[in-house]
């Protein structure tokens, strides 16, 4: 397995949706290829940091305002089933 082959499978490997034999080949490659090992770990960390970072949380005050606006707009429309 080359580094390019490894990269092609990286997404499925990180998402754990890969068959057993391909996984074994990838892990064999990781055992000796330091560059791919680093790429794999830092890509995994990239995903974790974004997943945990809560970049765009909706503040409660704005949330309430949006909910009121949405529901009043919905109420002013005719019932969906009567279309």
């Amino acid at each position: 397995m080359t580094c390019a082959d490894f990269l092609k499978e990286l997404t499925d490997y990180l998402d754990a949706v890969i068959d057993e034999s391909t996984r074994a080949e990838l892990e064999d490659h990781l055992a000796w290829c330091h560059n791919c090992y680093v790429i794999c770990n830092t890509t995994k960390k990239t995903i974790e940091i974004y997943r945990d970072s809560q970049l765009y949380e909706l503040p409660e005050e704005l949330r309430s305002r949006l909910e009121v606006a949405i529901l009043s707009r919905c109420a002013s429309k005719k019932k969906p089933s009567t279309t």
Binding site: D15, N35, I39, L55, A69, L71, S81
Partner: protein, 209 residues
């Protein structure tokens, strides 16, 4: 595992009941759906539009459109996936309006210099998120993801931030599964590459402060 599966099934049944009640014109049932998903829709919209006012508009418009078109929701997919699809389209429309100089499309399959082959391979500090204060870290992450093409950013946000499956992401974006996987790989690798300069281990050090 069985308990988790049961909870997932109950939530799906509960959701379907809310959708069916809302279809009959029950606004309070629709309110249940709004409260369940408004945070997610707002996050997705802000990630795509990169603008808070636009994200507020998209959140309102997406729910209103969903309400008006509930009859068209067939129940073949999850309500949430259907709603995300509406919100993504609304967000892209906002983005197009703001960027009249270039088209914004999910169909763009951009090949860039920093495509899949990494240029810089540097190991990161053991806990890179602890190298910065919370606010600084968020600024770095926002700036970095904003630099991705919209088509990559959208796939990354749905899959890795919001946790949709590959299949759900493909359905929400009207892309094939291989197209989702290809964009996701490139999005992940480009973000990794761009974060290197903030998170790499100092030369000769162990990365600890």
């Amino acid at each position: 595992m069985a308990i988790i599966e049961t909870k997932v099934r109950d939530a799906a049944t509960d959701e379907l009941a809310l959708v069916q009640a809302a279809k009959r014109g029950d606004v309070s049932a629709f309110e249940g759906l709004v409260k369940r998903y408004d945070r997610n829709i707002f996050r997705i919209a802000q990630h795509i539009t990169q603008n808070r006012e636009d994200a507020e508009d998209v959140t309102q418009d997406a729910f209103l459109k969903a309400y008006e078109n509930l009859e068209q929701f067939q129940g073949n997919s999850k309500f949430y996936t259907w709603l995300v699809r509406i919100a993504v389209n609304e967000s892209l429309m906002k983005l197009r309006r703001r960027r009249t100089d270039r088209t914004v499309s999910l169909d763009e399959d951009i090949k860039t210099e920093e495509d899949t082959m990494p240029r810089e391979i540097a190991d990161w500090s053991p806990n890179p998120e602890q190298l910065y204060k919370q606010g600084e870290l968020k600024d770095i992450l926002r700036k970095t993801i904003q630099g991705l093409p919209a088509s990559f950013r959208t796939v990354f946000v749905l899959r890795d931030v919001e946790g949709l499956s590959t299949e759900e992401t493909a359905e929400a974006l009207d892309l094939s599964i291989p197209a989702v996987k290809s964009r996701l790989l490139r999005a992940r690798l480009q973000l990794r590459e761009r974060l290197n300069k903030y998170f790499r281990k100092p030369r000769g050090g162990d990365g600890k402060k």
